[in-house]
Symmetry: C2
Subunit: 309 residues, 2 copies
DNA sequence: CTGAAAGCGCTTACAG
DNA sequence: CTGAAAGCGCTTACAG
């Protein structure tokens, strides 16, 4: 039977055919559990994304899928936009390890994830006892600020977004960069119930244009917010980039679709996926103590200058 | 042990604690195979997409994830953009059923998929012995053609794409619709090795503008191609929609990002996911004979008129 | 080449 | 409450 199904040697053609026929007759399908129990199966990674229709997550998922395939891992994806807890809980029944953004209070994480190895993507400080990948915006934000100043921009507004933090990491880096150049950091923070989308960016930019009528640049939490800001500027007749410069964060495809194309702090998603995997493997092997100073690795975006600045 | 881990009744607090401590000590993680073997686990769907960075597939994946979660299924995603065969083969070790686009020759499908239930998304005719979901463009293309004619368009060019077919289904529907209105159907087909992307759309549109200088409308294989056509028109100074109308197919977010916004034949992705699931369940239960006339259900896009026409 | 036992790691059902 | 046997569906290793 095993010999027929998996066509192994040591079986006569006649017997094999007879078994195969019977299998078809009975609609026999081998159980992945029975098989996995003895042959261990290929390792499976659970990828936790917020929303695949957001370019950042789609690019990340695509890169993780590629990287995982090369390493012989399979990937299971869960979206947390509806219910993070149940999405993660379901994943856990199927995977050997997790990677992604799990935005739950610190006390819940242990209970939710249990002993499964996990690599968190850019977590809040209180979750950093686990292995994690840091998105480090310091140098890219400094580049962005210098670039804007070289274009004679002085009133630069950050359109920030965050669900539970007072300020995102990228906004903190923005403040450092702008203050380092002797300018006032202007930050508009949206802690919305909604995702950081184009629509939200448009609303935020409209608000900012009222609050600081003399603003001459937007630096945005991500590319969708930046696209929204672009739309808002175009709607009120503020020319981009002549009158207002706009810079996003992501480097996803949406920035290439708009006119003018979007200047952005662009991630190398493949590098991000590679970093996540090597962190994960080190963490699984135990060569990396959770939470220790070596338990995370930074990934840095690069300033890509296009038409919007 | 089982009682402690899954905190079931019939165990004293002291013993439970002792077991839990030991488990932590030994880094014990229950095997999903052992567990699944006895408790069957939740059913798992393998979703086969081409490329998550394409809005169509991202929207579809998101909708399938939602639908699956509601039905208590888990979803595993594989991307076929690099290697369809190995992507599907890997998936098969992990799932109970498949849904998606598997673009292999008819003779290979049985060998590749074996007895696993599969619902194909809009397959070529020779693959339709399996259960499948039909994307039916007839009525939407008729609406699109009428709409264009009402805008006094007469020289309408379809920018088609297909990897292995002489003509896509949507191009066939386009030809029916345009001929039905007494016009010449102009079709430019790109059977590229590359995906139907913005860049490809731009190239195709440039080519079409040379071949038919008097064209006054584009109907495109998908929204990325349409966005590329829009960019091509803007690059050569053909005004959209005054001079050239553009209509895409998808209804994904990219069409809302461009200026003018894209008229498109828009899918209800949630409906598509629902249809796939009900087809799948019927197919699994055997209430639906593979290939029979009832083995597929049509999903129809709707014409959504926006600025580009 | 063919057959059947042992064992993978769990949960369920039963005995103590 | 605690312990240990039976069995889930496979593959591997061994006997015939």
């Amino acid at each position: 039977m095993t010999r027929a199904i998996n066509d192994m040697p040591g079986i006569s053609a006649a017997t094999k055919q007879r078994v195969l026929d019977a299998a078809r007759e009975l609609q026999y399908r081998p159980s992945r559990f029975g098989r996995g129990l003895v042959s261990r199966g290929t390792p499976t990674l659970g990828l936790v994304v917020v929303d695949l229709t957001n370019g950042f997550w789609a690019e990340l998922a695509s890169a993780v899928l590629d990287e995982a395939t090369e390493r012989g891992w399979t990937v299971l994806i869960a979206e947390t936009s509806h219910d993070a807890r149940s999405a993660v809980a379901t994943l856990l029944d199927h995977v050997d390890a997790l990677f992604g953004l799990v935005d739950v209070p610190e006390t819940e994480l242990d209970e939710l994830v249990g002993p499964t190895p996990i690599v968190l993507l850019d977590p809040k400080p209180d979750l950093r006892r686990r292995a994690w990948v840091r998105l480090d915006f310091e140098s890219a934000m400094a580049d962005a600020a210098s670039h804007l100043v070289s274009k004679a921009r002085r009133r630069i507004v950050m359109l920030d977004w965050s669900r539970s933090q007072p300020r995102s990491e990228r906004a903190t880096s923005f403040v450092h960069a702008v203050e380092g150049l002797g300018l006032d950091p202007l930050v508009l923070r949206h802690t919305a119930t909604s995702e950081p989308s184009i629509d939200l960016g448009r609303l935020a930019a409209e608000e900012a244009l009222v609050q600081w009528p003399d603003l001459d640049a937007f630096v945005c939490f991500n590319d969708p917010i930046a696209v929204g800001a672009l739309k808002a500027c175009q709607a009120v007749g503020r020319s981009v980039p002549a009158d207002v410069s706009i810079i996003g964060v992501d480097g996803s495809a949406v920035g290439l679709v708009v006119t003018p194309e979007l200047t952005t702090l662009s991630f190398d998603f493949r590098e991000l996926a590679r970093t996540a995997f090597s962190t994960l493997l080190a963490s699984v092997e135990g060569s990396l103590a959770d939470g220790g100073p070596a338990a995370h690795r930074p990934v840095r975006p690069q300033l890509v200058v296009r038409g919007s600045s």
